[in-house]
């Protein structure tokens, strides 16, 4: 089951996870979290696809104090779908893939 997700939906699921935990997430932070399983280039291409398909949106705002960037969020219309994807295909495997406390 843990291998069922495409790289795009792994990226989307990790963004969903951050949104769910009320954590801000942006590109470089996402790259860092997914480092154990995915290269920066792969994350970059995946986010592009997710933007193009309106699954993820970026809201320009403060990332770290004094710095701005695109804060990544799952779009409203994709939330229901991503809830299922996250709960069934990512949440149970996340720690084993990324390491705990990521």
């Amino acid at each position: 089951m843990g291998e069922a997700l495409s790289k795009e939906f792994i990226v989307a699921s990790e963004i969903f996870h951050a949104n769910k935990m009320n954590e801000k997430i942006w590109f470089s932070k996402l790259v860092d979290k997914l480092k154990p399983i995915m290269s920066k280039v792969t994350v970059s291409k995946s986010i592009d696809t997710l933007f193009d398909w309106n699954i993820v949106k970026g809201e320009y705002g403060e990332t770290t104090p004094g710095h701005s960037g695109r804060l990544l969020k799952i779009t409203n219309e994709s939330k229901d779908r991503m809830t299922t994807v996250y709960e069934e295909y990512w949440a149970p495997y996340r720690d084993s893939k990324l390491g705990p406390k990521t």
């Binding site: 590109f27 994350v43 970059s44 592009d48 970026g58 320009y60 705002g61 939330k79 229901d80």
Partner: protein, 253 residues
């Protein structure tokens, strides 16, 4: 289903959820109007709820005001099923035809919601005649003129890239008349809008040229209600535009 409305009491939260449940299947049929306009359906209403929730962090609303704003978000554009022109009036006609709406929101709330819905279009020129205060759950708990003004502005703020279904646009854009294509492209460029009450501005972030006619229209909407906001001490005094870099990861990778 939307998971918002957490600021409402359970009974009112339930009513809003019921309205959302009732209307969203119909909103799916509010036509995109290809090759005309971007969606006025479910996504648009959900976006307005999100904007309201963002505003909640900065402006205090009463339980009554929130309830009216949320219900208005879901109901205000069903008139677009018939026609986009004067859709605010058409929405009222539709709501009046079906008693289930009034029974869901209660007969006390219903006229207040209709007032907000009627006033949300800039073609409604009687916004200054709306009573300042109204009573819903307790005496004078609703700043009716203010929330009518705010709702017009909130509705006007949903002009970002989220209005564009990318696949739909990709399929249809080849055949779109230039005028309509300009509309869709203008939406695609606007990344997000922030109500910056600390600095007193509504900040519009755009990837494209800041000279975007949709932002011009938002300014018109704002100008039509700014005096009401200022009279009520809402610290939003202007619209600011900022061009932001295109997706930064394209450069990083």
């Amino acid at each position: 289903m939307n998971e918002n409305y957490s600021s409402l009491q359970d009974i009112n939260k339930l009513k809003v959820v019921l309205i959302e449940t009732l209307i969203t299947p119909t909103l799916d049929y509010v036509q995109v109007g290809i090759p005309g306009f971007t969606t006025h359906g479910r996504v648009h209403s959900a976006n307005l709820v999100e904007i309201i929730d963002n505003l909640l962090e900065k402006i205090h609303f009463s339980e009554a005001e929130l309830f009216i704003l949320y219900c208005s978000s879901w109901l205000h554009d069903i008139g677009c099923i018939k026609d986009r022109k004067k859709h605010n009036e058409l929405t009222i006609e539709i709501l009046d035809q079906y008693p289930i709406f009034e029974s869901h929101v209660t007969s006390k709330a219903y006229p207040l919601i209709k007032t907000v819905i009627l006033a949300h279009s800039s073609n409604y020129d009687k916004i200054d005649e709306i009573p300042l205060l109204a009573t819903l759950f307790s005496e004078n708990d609703t700043r009716l003129r203010l929330i009518s003004a705010l709702f017009r502005l909130i509705d006007g703020c949903d002009i970002t890239t989220s209005r564009v279904d990318v696949l739909l646009y990709s399929i249809t854009k080849v055949d779109l008349p230039l005028e309509n294509k300009k509309h869709w492209d203008a939406h695609r460029e606007i990344q997000n809008i922030v109500f910056d009450t600390e600095n007193g501005v509504i900040q519009v972030y755009t990837e494209g040229n800041v000279d975007n006619f949709l932002i011009d229209h938002l300014e018109e909407e704002y100008n039509s209600v700014s005096h009401i906001l200022i009279d009520h001490g809402i610290p939003l005094y202007s619209i600011e535009r900022e061009q932001i870099p295109k997706r930064e990861w394209d450069e990083d990778a």
